[in-house]
């Protein structure tokens, strides 16, 4: 522990407190007032230090003492993170409940990691082995799903002099180096600084989400970034939760940043019950939840994003693939704005601080595919929800986000209103990973993947153009071929793009199923176009019924049979005409 330095409160205005006679560095954590509220130094001037306080400041008075811990805001990293639910500064919510009941009072700071629980540590190195920072020296089975790799903490290296096997707490020494330095399972890391990596790499595989519109049309890569902006009610949270449930990653970090309390409850009740499609274990076994709801202190909301990404980086360093969901980054930006305005900083666009875009870029840049210091490949994919005021995408947070992210899922209120879910607008959204990932899809799903997806997109774009004409003259005036295009587009929209998150089967669609569905729909189109060329009237083609069988395949476990049957019957019907 550093030398403790003290000061006195000079002024209190909401979460911002000014302190005189304090010795502190920027971002040092301080304990404010007699109740020892947690705060962080965010501005230093000749006379005062300005501190943002992570708890409610009601009743705090000028003249009360302030203590500097001399440390920046850190997280504790080690076994026990998974299955946890923390607030924005890594206080475990179940422990807060034990300490102060159902409502969050202040001044409590429980242990962030359980220091009494014993974990079975298995060493992977032996006495005399040379080890360096980030190298894995042993493992702990943290949950049924995830094996926790104990790494040499930052800044240490040497030769193993002693290493133990057996049951230990996170603060017990499990290994000693020749220079006398002891290694425990727990390490600390300041949240505002990215953890070091060996080498950064370009993403090359998709993050499979089981959501047809995402996997097929707008994929995100493992180690990539995506933003989902949309007005309220467009389904941002459902998308985030679907990804948290089904994305093919090893660990999920879900940050509820300034959102609804009842939504976190939903996650908390659902995740322990839902099964991870890969392992069959409850999803909670691979999840870390961070919940700083909208009515919890705004400064802790600002910190929650950093707390989450640091935990994600820690698991990435073990060689895992992480998906991090931030719902919502707009609330995070608003927290910055609120604090910035209390500091009386000169505002940038719409009152947001001038450093908004820098902070957003720095955050998204902590995503990526890397070789860790220990030599393992891991990745963090960030999916950030954005809540633009009034659904207006030209506002600063959306714009600053779009400058850095590679995938843009545009959520559309109009689609949501007619219950087209996921309400991702197929015309405005884009993914810059499509080309990078084409090779992967060709190899792992089907060689003609890119071709099929491309044709479907072309039909959807054609539909948009035709709809403009229909609006003016009615659909009767269209030529036959265009009428057929409209019908195929409808099939793509209703059968393929729409997916029911609340249906047991339809909630997850593997790549094979997605591909087969799309191929069957386009198969109809090709055959119908041929039939049209032989002079069959479009009315007769549209009157066929078998193609509706494709819609039923969504809800069937044995989708192959249903799709093949639908395909066969479609062909027979068309041939008979």
């Amino acid at each position: 522990m550093g030398v403790r330095m003290t000061g006195t409160i000079y002024r209190v205005a909401g979460p911002v407190v000014m302190i005189e006679k304090l010795q502190a560095k920027m971002f040092d954590v301080v304990r404010v007032g007699r109740e020892k509220l947690i705060g962080e130094v965010i501005q230093i001037s000749p006379a005062y230090h300005t501190v943002q306080v992570y708890e409610d400041t009601s009743g705090i008075r000028p003249g009360e003492p302030v203590e500097n811990t001399g440390q920046p805001l850190t997280v504790e990293l080690g076994p026990g993170l998974l299955k946890s639910i923390y607030d924005g500064i890594q206080r475990p919510l179940p422990d807060l409940q034990k300490e102060m009941g159902d409502f969050i009072a202040r001044g409590a700071f429980p242990q962030r990691l359980d220091k009494t629980k014993k974990w079975a540590f298995k060493p992977l190195v032996k006495k005399g082995d040379a080890v360096r920072e980030g190298q894995v020296i042993g493992v702990v089975q943290e949950t049924k799903t995830v094996q926790h790799k104990v790494m040499v903490p930052p800044g240490l290296s040497g030769t193993i002099q002693d290493i133990k096997t057996g049951q230990f707490t996170v603060v017990d020494t499990v290994a000693t180096l020749d220079n006398g330095r002891k290694i425990h399972m727990m390490q600390e890391w300041p949240i505002r600084i990215p953890r070091r990596v060996g080498k950064r790499m370009v993403p090359d595989a998709p993050l499979i989400t089981g959501q047809r519109v995402l996997d097929a049309l707008f994929p995100i890569a493992k180690g990539g970034t995506a933003a989902a902006p949309g007005p309220f009610g467009a389904g941002k949270t459902v998308i985030q939760q679907q990804l948290a449930k089904w994305a093919d990653t090893d660990v999920v970090v879900y940050i509820g940043c300034g959102e609804r309390g009842n939504e976190m409850t939903e996650v908390l009740t659902e995740f322990p019950e839902l099964k991870d499609p890969k392992t069959g274990n409850p999803l909670m076994e691979r999840t870390v939840l961070i919940a700083n709801t909208s009515n919890m202190p705004v400064a802790a909301r600002e910190a929650s994003i950093y707390t989450g990404i640091t935990i994600a980086e820690y698991y990435r360093d073990m060689g895992y693939h992480i998906a991090l969901m931030a719902d919502s980054t707009s609330r995070w930006a608003e927290a910055m704005r609120e604090i910035s305005s209390r500091l009386e900083e000169m505002p940038g666009e719409e009152g947001y601080p001038a450093y908004l875009s820098t902070r957003l870029a720095e955050f998204y840049e902590r995503a990526g595919r890397v070789i860790s210091l220990g030599g393992d490949e891991g990745s963090i994919s960030i999916i950030g929800a954005v809540s633009p005021p009034g659904g207006d995408l030209s506002e600063p947070v959306t714009q600053a986000t779009l400058r850095v992210v590679k995938t843009f899922w545009s959520l559309d209120a109009k689609l949501a209103q007619r219950r087209h879910f996921p309400s991702i607008n197929w015309l405005n959204s884009y993914s810059l990973y499509t080309e990078t990932l084409a090779g992967w899809y060709a190899q792992h799903v089907a060689p003609e993947w890119a071709d099929v997806v491309g044709r479907a997109m072309a039909i959807l774009q054609e539909e948009e153009k035709l709809q403009e004409i229909v609006q003016l003259v009615g659909s009767d005036a269209l030529p036959d071929k265009e009428k057929l295009t409209l019908e195929t587009a409808r099939m793509i929209r209703e059968f393929f793009l729409q997916q029911n998150a609340y249906h047991d089967v339809d909630t997850y669609s593997d790549l094979g199923k997605s591909f087969l569905m799309l191929k069957t729909i386009l198969g109809f189109h090709t055959q119908a176009v041929q039939k049209l060329a032989t002079g069959t009237p479009v009315g007769a083609i549209l009157a066929t019924k078998a193609r509706n069988g494709i819609a039923d395949a969504k809800f069937e476990k044995d989708h192959v049979k249903v799709l093949e049957k639908a395909g066969r019957e479609m062909q027979q019907e068309l041939e008979k005409l």
């Binding site: 000079y10 002024r11 209190v12 205005a13 909401g14 400041t57 009601s58 009743g59 008075r61 000028p62 003249g63 919510l93 179940p94 159902d102 409502f103 969050i104 009072a105 202040r106 309220f232 009610g233 509820g256 300034g258 609804r260 309390g261 009842n262 939504e263 976190m264 409850t265 939903e266 908390l268 709801t293 909208s294 009515n295 919890m296 705004v298 609330r331 608003e334 927290a335 704005r337 609120e338 305005s341 719409e350 009152g351 005021p389 009034g390 207006d392 209120a413 209103q417 007619r418 219950r419 229909v470 609006q471 003016l472 003259v473 009615g474 659909s475 209703e494 819609a551 039923d552 809800f555």
Partner: protein
């Protein structure tokens, strides 16, 4: 909730050093340390007392916002700092009482003998302690029950416009709301912020006529009451609601009206403090501030009671992207949007289902809760009505003749949907099964293969009944 008792005498300090008055704000020079958010009593030369709260405290001066306005305050007035935050005296006897916006009785009855005095700021419920809201509340209004289901512990605002019958709808919900199969321990907390005497009278008369007044706590801040007081009125109401719900196991429905007036007061204070304004002059922290109100709804694991909120707000110029409805929509679990067009057509309740939404609906409906086909029927109604509405635009240009027969059916469906499903009287209490049967009746007019949102099994089971 911290329960440190105020230490009278020891912490109370009185100053006659008011050196600046600006709008609702008073600046006081002082020597003793004063706590942030501390309560202040200002005594005018005439002997009148005003209530205030500390907004900013420094070593030598404080800024106080005065809830009852600053007219008549001069540098001869004194400021007493009470060493405590604002508290509401709560008791089960509050039921049946009418209080003003500061929590004092105005019904001529005796003072309330407090069982407890609670900090009105309220603490946030630990997300880990929250219970999942999943009890279906039947309001008897089809558009809400079938398509935007309300569940216990939800916050579902009504987005209205000036001149629309939002008050009638709120009253109808308060009157008819019931949970199927549950024995009732029901209470209504009613908070009026800046509404007219007439409007408040309508609520109170209705509560009296239906006998509901026994189970109502009313906090009234009317249009001619001080604007700044509106900032504490909803907090008083929610404190009372939480107390009744979590101490006395009651299911409390909170009606907050009108949130637009609350936000106006918030803006007034912000501009008096010369804060940097956000969109349309509203302060940048309005989201956080509204969240501290709306998030005080929910259930708690292991407790029997619940707080359900129905805030009402009038959209300025019917604009749903205006900051007040916009920020509200981002916090609440859905919204019920009223439509001027439907109102003009004479449809009551004029609920526009398309922009309306209930986020907690899926948890509260389905087998064993309402009926197995509920979700799919709702989705189908949405899809068909949306298409029908689109076609109206088309018909205006090309005429009805050029529509295909299927489209004509959709057009007729949209019309029938508004006339039979949306429309009902303010006294009509439709059971959920009746509302669902009505939905099937309307849907049966459409070609069966067009009902893609409903599974084959349900179509076979429920659609046939219509033909029979």
């Amino acid at each position: 909730m911290s329960d440190a008792q105020p230490m009278q005498g020891l912490n109370v300090k009185e100053y006659r050093t008011i050196n600046r008055v600006e709008g609702p704000l008073v600046f006081v020079t002082k020597t003793h340390p004063i706590g942030y958010n501390e309560i202040v009593k200002i005594r005018l030369a005439s002997g009148e007392m005003r209530l205030g709260q500390v907004l900013d405290t420094a070593t030598d001066s404080v800024v106080v916002q005065v809830f009852e306005g600053t007219s008549g305050i001069d540098n001869q007035a004194t400021a007493r700092f009470l060493g405590d935050v604002i508290r509401l005296k709560v008791s089960k006897d509050m039921l049946g009482r009418v209080l003003n916006g500061r929590g004092d009785p105005i019904d001529g009855g005796p003072a309330i003998i407090p069982e407890d005095e609670l900090d009105i700021t309220g603490a946030s419920i630990n997300p880990y302690s929250r219970g999942p809201p999943r009890d279906f509340i039947q309001t008897g209004i089809s558009t809400i029950d079938v398509m935007n289901t309300l569940v216990r512990g939800q916050k579902l605002p009504i987005f209205s416009g000036s001149g629309l019958p939002h008050n009638d709808i709120a009253l109808q919900i308060a009157r008819q709301a019931k949970v199927l199969s549950a024995s009732e321990n029901f209470a209504v907390v009613f908070a009026a912020m800046g509404i007219t005497y007439e409007e408040s009278k309508k609520f109170m008369t209705n509560f009296e006529e239906t006998g509901a007044i026994e189970r109502v706590v009313a906090f009234l801040n009317l249009a001619n009451d001080p604007a700044v007081e509106r900032l504490i009125t909803p907090r008083m109401a929610l404190t009372a609601a939480e107390y009744l719900a979590f101490k006395h196991d009651m299911h409390v429905l909170v009606i907050l009206t009108d949130m637009t007036n609350y936000c106006e007061s918030l803006r007034q204070i912000a501009s008096a403090r010369e804060e940097i304004p956000g969109r349309r002059g509203y302060p940048g922290y309005m989201y956080t501030d509204l969240a501290t109100l709306y998030e005080r709804a929910g259930m708690i694991k292991g407790k029997k009671g619940s707080v359900t909120q129905i805030p009402i707000l009038t959209m300025v110029g019917d604009d749903i992207t205006h900051p007040i409805p916009d920020l509200t929509g981002y916090i609440t679990e859905g919204q019920v949007v009223l439509s001027r067009e439907l109102h003009r057509k004479g449809v009551f309740p004029p609920v526009d289902v398309l922009p309306s939404l209930s986020r907690l609906m899926n948890q509260g409906i389905g087998k064993e809760k309402t009926r197995e086909d509920h979700k799919q029927v709702s989705d189908q109604l949405y899809a068909a009505y949306a298409e029908g509405r689109d076609l109206r635009g088309l018909v205006a240009i090309v005429g009805e003749e050029s529509l295909s027969p299927a489209d004509r059916k959709l057009l007729a469906f949209a019309e029938a949907f508004e006339k039979q499903f949306v429309r009902q009287t303010s006294q009509e209490n439709r059971a959920i099964t009746d509302s669902l049967e009505l939905s099937w009746k309307l849907l049966s007019a459409l070609p069966e293969e067009g009902l893609t949102r409903i599974s084959k099994d349900f179509r076979a089971k429920y659609l046939k009944k219509q033909g029979a």
